[in-house]
Structures are given as structure tokens and as C-alpha cells.
Amino acid sequence: MISDRLKQTILKELNLDDYEFQDDTKATDVPGWDSLNHINVILAVEKEFGIRFKNVEILKLKNIGELQSLVNSKV
């Protein structure tokens, strides 16, 4: 389950009005979330939640569900 706070952070960074995120949604499924923009999304999430991911944790992420779990484990 993707929290509204995480969803809004991603939408704002990608300039999207709305998008239905599922746990297994991949970055490549979301309009504008390409390999270059990826880091901006990660930085926005870190800033919003006041957390810092380890490099390897970001590398291992496979979908939004895993990003949500990682955020939950840090806050």
C-alpha cells in the first residue's frame, strides 16, 4: 500500500496530476520517471521524509512497493 504522502511527493517531482500507484508499479511504468529523472525522485523522497538511503538500498529497489517499505523502515 502506497501512502498518500509518498504518492504526492512523487507526483509533484514528476509534474503529474495523478497516477494510480500499485505496490508492483515500476519506475519505467510512470510517465517522466526515466533513468535520468530517477535521482530527482529519490532526492525528493529523502527530503520529504527527512531520511537518507544507503546507496545499495537505492540500487536494490525494484518497484514503488519496495520504496514504500524502505521509507517505512527509516521513519
Binding site: 526515466d34 533513468s35 540500487l59
Partner: protein
């Protein structure tokens, strides 16, 4: 009965001869491949035996291309198999050190064979000493199988995959004849799954395989080899002897040649593997239809670009993330310089990589202003914008190919001087009448490339639907047409040198 057997002929089939390798484009290869498919089908219920059989054929295939370097290929496979198992048993700092050791082994192997002389010669030239270099020969395909090994170790280290327990399956992953010489650089998890599956081919798979093999053969032998030998090579070898217009056509010709050569090889590799039940990854997707250089890299040599993206660009991008857009720019620059160096130990390749890095970085900084401008001019999502983007991207890529192809920077300088200051457009009709077939093939090649995808799917669909004997006829016809265009000297695939 033995007196009827020509033992000398048999000997030449089995022996390594550097001038007579067993490339996909030879009749002998197709003959042997049909036997391999038939035997593999018979052995298919016995998974270890069928894999061992493919390893044996792959060893023979590689030996015919590289001789004794076969030992390096198998040595690399066995060592990486053990490294994978070892890595999985360790944790903490020991795991980290073992992983670094594994990476250094593979990078060291590639570095020794590919870059030692380049390094020594550049160092010696700093001291104004002309050093001839060591006698090191590059084992064919090493850049490809070392990259496969590295991806395997990284994926185990990230705990994305478990190491393969069956040594035969892993050896086949590294040595598989279809992709050992020039890719696609397949990922271990997808390939290894195929070794464990039941061997069964659908009508769709057989049709797709025949389509890809014939398409690849025609791309390579009819277009790439013909325009290469008859025109492109001549101009690139002595650009000063040709006018600007001929130099420009040679650049367009080489842009088509390298695509048809490498994607033709990849199509054949994917098609051949598919007939044995192995689904190799897609390597090309109409790259000159790209609307930006970033888009080009999502369509060109996809197995390498995705490797570089996952294992080089992303880790650096994450590490430099506090620098935001500058971090992206830095990671892009390093990635593309390494991409250039991967293609060959020569400054022209590094320059080619640097040029692509420059395109990508400029594209990165211009992305937002461009979007705003298109919106203001109401150009977003219009066909005019798309056509202009394709035209500009194509010419940026073609310009970079000059440096990829030339022997040294002097040749590139002469070519550009001829194009920009000695164009002589009036020579064009003479070129067309003097090189009719070359001209027709270049125009035809680009026309086919820019055709809508629907037509490609339509033709593939027809081949899928027709009965098996008709498929066999198409395959035979493709081989026959290719044989008519074939030259006395066997033309190696361009990407074998990397």
C-alpha cells in the same frame, strides 16, 4: 569405404585456421547447425546431456574462431562459477572483499588483453619514446563474455539472484555459441532459466526464428558487406581521393553498414538461439528512428547500454546525487567515456564516447528549456517536431560514427574538410551511375529501416502462419540470395574486433 572420405577436408573442418572461421554466414555453419538442432531435439529430455552437447558445439565454434584462446574462455567460465558460489557463502567485509576480488579478476583479464599496449604506448609517448608494444593478441569475444561474468557477480552481490549450482548450465551461459563472439550480453537469470525449461518450440517461435535469421543474413551479407567493400571502405581508407559529396555518402553508408552488420549479427544470434529454445535479449529497436540521443541509446546495442546503465551509470548517479543535475552529467560523462574505451583501445573510440557524453549532457541541460519552447510554439507532439528531432539525432549519430570508423584523427579531419570545403555536388550523378548497386542498397536499406513497424510485424506474421516446408524454403532462399552476394573473402562481423 574410407577411401571415399576426404580426410583433408575433414581436417580443415575441425582445425583452427584464422582465415577460415565458422561464422554464421557460411554454408558449413548452417549445415552443422541443422545437425545440432536435430541432435539437441533427440537429447532434449536429458537436461544435463543436452546442455553438455551445446557446450561441446560452442567449444568447437569458439575454437574455429579463436584457436587456443578457448582455454581462456573456459577458464573464465569455471573461475566465475566458483566466484559466484563463494560470494554467496560470505557476509560482511569478507563478502565485500571477495566481490572486489571477483570484479578485479574480470576487469584485469579484459584490461590485460585489451588495454596493456594502449596504456604502455601512451605512457611511453609522454616521454617521447616510440614503443612498439607487447605481443598480445585480443581473444575474440572477450569484451562480451567478461561483461556477462561481471553482471553475474554483481547480481549475486545485490542478492537479486542465487548463484547457479549446476556447473554445466553456467558454462553454457558464458560460452553459448550464439552470443559468445559479439553478444547480446545476456543476463544470467534469464538465460539460466532457459537451460532448465522443457524444449518445445511453438509455431510462433519457429516463424520468428526463420524471419530473424533470414533478415539478419540479408542485412549482413547483402547490405553491410556489399556497400562496405564496394564503397564505404574505399572512401574511409583514402578520403582525400574523393569529393565532399562522396565522403558524405560514405558517412551515410557507414551509418547504415554498422547498423546492418551488428543488428544483422544480433538478429541471427537471437534466431539461432530461439531454435534451440533460448530467448536472448533484444539488442536493437530501429535505432535511427530515435528522437534524441538518449532515445538512440534505448534502441542501439540495448544489451550493452542497459548493462552500462545498471552497473555503471546508476551506482555513480546515486553516489553523486547531492550534486543533482551535475551529478547526472558527471555520471553520464564517465559512463560514455568508458563505453568508448570498451569498443577499443584507441583515442578515436574514447573521442566517440566523449562526443556521445557531450550530446547527452547538453540534452540534459536543455530538456526543460526545450519543453517550454515547444509548448510556447505549440509544437509539442506534432509530426513536424518529431521529424526534425529524428533528422537532427540521425546526423549527430552519423557525425560521431566518423570517429568510430577512421584509423586516426587525420582521416576524420580530411573527411570533414572534403565535406565542408570541397563538396562538388555536381559529382552526385556520376556517383550514382558509377555505383548503381551501392546507391540502390543504401536507399533501400534506409527505406526499410524507416518503414512503420507494422510492416515488419505483418511479414513476420506471414512467416509464422505458413507451413513448416514453406518456412524451410524461405530459410534456404535467404541463404541462397546471401550466397549470390558473397565475396571471395569472408567478411568478419565488425563487432568481433571489440
Amino acid at each position: 569405404m574410407f577411401k571415399y572420405l576426404d580426410f583433408q577436408k575433414l581436417n580443415s573442418i575441425l582445425q583452427y585456421d584464422q582465415y577460415d572461421p565458422l561464422y554464421f554466414t557460411t554454408i558449413l555453419f548452417f549445415f552443422l547447425f541443422l545437425i545440432v538442432v536435430a541432435v539437441y531435439r533427440l537429447l532434449s529430455p536429458y537436461k544435463n546431456i543436452r546442455v553438455a552437447f551445446l557446450i561441446l558445439f560452442s567449444a568447437y565454434f569458439y575454437y574455429k574462431a579463436a584457436g587456443n584462446f578457448l582455454t581462456i574462455l573456459f577458464g573464465t567460465a569455471i573461475i566465475n562459477y566458483l566466484l559466484g558460489l563463494g560470494l554467496n557463502k560470505l557476509s560482511g567485509i569478507k563478502r565485500k572483499l571477495f566481490f572486489i576480488f571477483g570484479l578485479l579478476f574480470n576487469i584485469g583479464l579484459l584490461g590485460y588483453f585489451k588495454y596493456t599496449n594502449f596504456f604502455l604506448q601512451n605512457i611511453s609517448s609522454l616521454f617521447e619514446y616510440n614503443y612498439g608494444g607487447l605481443n598480445i593478441i585480443l581473444p575474440i569475444g572477450i569484451s562480451f563474455y567478461v561483461f556477462k561474468s561481471i553482471s553475474y557477480l554483481i547480481e549475486i552481490n545485490l542478492e537479486n539472484i542465487e548463484p547457479e549450482k549446476n556447473i554445466l548450465n553456467f558454462i553454457l551461459y558464458i560460452t553459448f555459441f550464439a552470443n559468445v563472439l559479439a553478444g547480446p550480453i545476456d543476463r544470467a537469470n534469464y538465460f539460466l532459466e532457459n537451460t532448465k525449461e522443457k524444449y518445445f518450440l511453438t509455431k510462433q517461435q519457429i516463424g520468428t526464428a526463420v524471419f530473424l535469421i533470414v533478415l539478419g543474413l540479408l542485412k549482413k551479407v547483402v547490405i553491410a558487406d556489399y556497400i562496405g567493400l564496394n564503397f564505404v571502405d574505399r572512401v574511409f581508407d583514402a578520403p582525400e581521393r574523393f569529393t565532399g559529396v562522396e565522403n558524405l555518402i560514405a558517412v551515410y553508408g557507414y551509418t547504415l553498414q554498422i547498423y546492418c552488420d551488428f543488428s544483422g549479427y544480433s538478429d541471427m544470434a537471437i534466431g539461432l538461439a530461439l531454435l534451440l529454445g533460448f530467448r536472448l535479449m533484444q539488442n536493437f529497436n530501429s535505432p535511427y528512428k530515435a528522437t534524441s540521443v538518449a532515445d538512440f541509446w534505448r534502441r542501439w546495442h540495448i544489451s550493452l547500454s542497459s548493462w552500462l546503465l545498471d552497473y555503471l551509470f546508476k551506482p555513480m548517479q546515486i553516489k553523486f546525487r547531492n550534486l543533482r543535475i551535475y551529478g547526472n552529467a558527471l555520471a553520464l560523462t564517465i559512463t560514455f567515456l568508458i563505453c568508448g574505451l570498451w569498443h577499443g583501445a584507441n583515442w578515436t573510440f574514447i573521442f566517440w564516447g566523449g562526443l556521445h557524453a557531450f550530446y547527452m549532457v547538453v540534452g540534459l541541460f536543455l530538456k526543460r528549456p526545450k519543453e517550454k519552447l515547444y509548448k510556447k510554439l505549440s509544437l509539442s507532439n506534432t509530426w513536424i517536431l518529431k521529424a526534425a528531432q529524428i533528422f537532427i539525432t540521425f546526423h549527430l549519430i552519423a557525425f560521431a560514427w566518423i570517429f568510430f570508423r577512421v584509423k586516426n584523427f587525420d582521416y576524420a579531419r580530411v573527411m570533414l574538410e572534403q565535406i565542408f570545403s570541397n563538396f562538388q555536388s555536381e559529382v552526385f550523378p556520376q556517383f550514382v551511375s558509377g555505383f548503381v548497386i551501392v546507391f540502390v542498397l543504401i536507399v533501400l536499406g534506409y527505406l526499410v529501416h524507416f518503414l512503420p513497424e507494422k510492416i515488419e510485424f505483418f511479414i513476420k506474421d506471414i512467416i509464422v502462419k505458413i507451413p513448416l516446408p514453406a518456412k524451410a524454403f524461405i530459410l534456404a532462399a535467404g541463404i541462397w540470395i546471401a550466397a549470390q552476394f558473397k565475396f571471395a573473402d569472408l567478411q568478419p562481423f565488425l563487432y568481433f574486433q571489440f
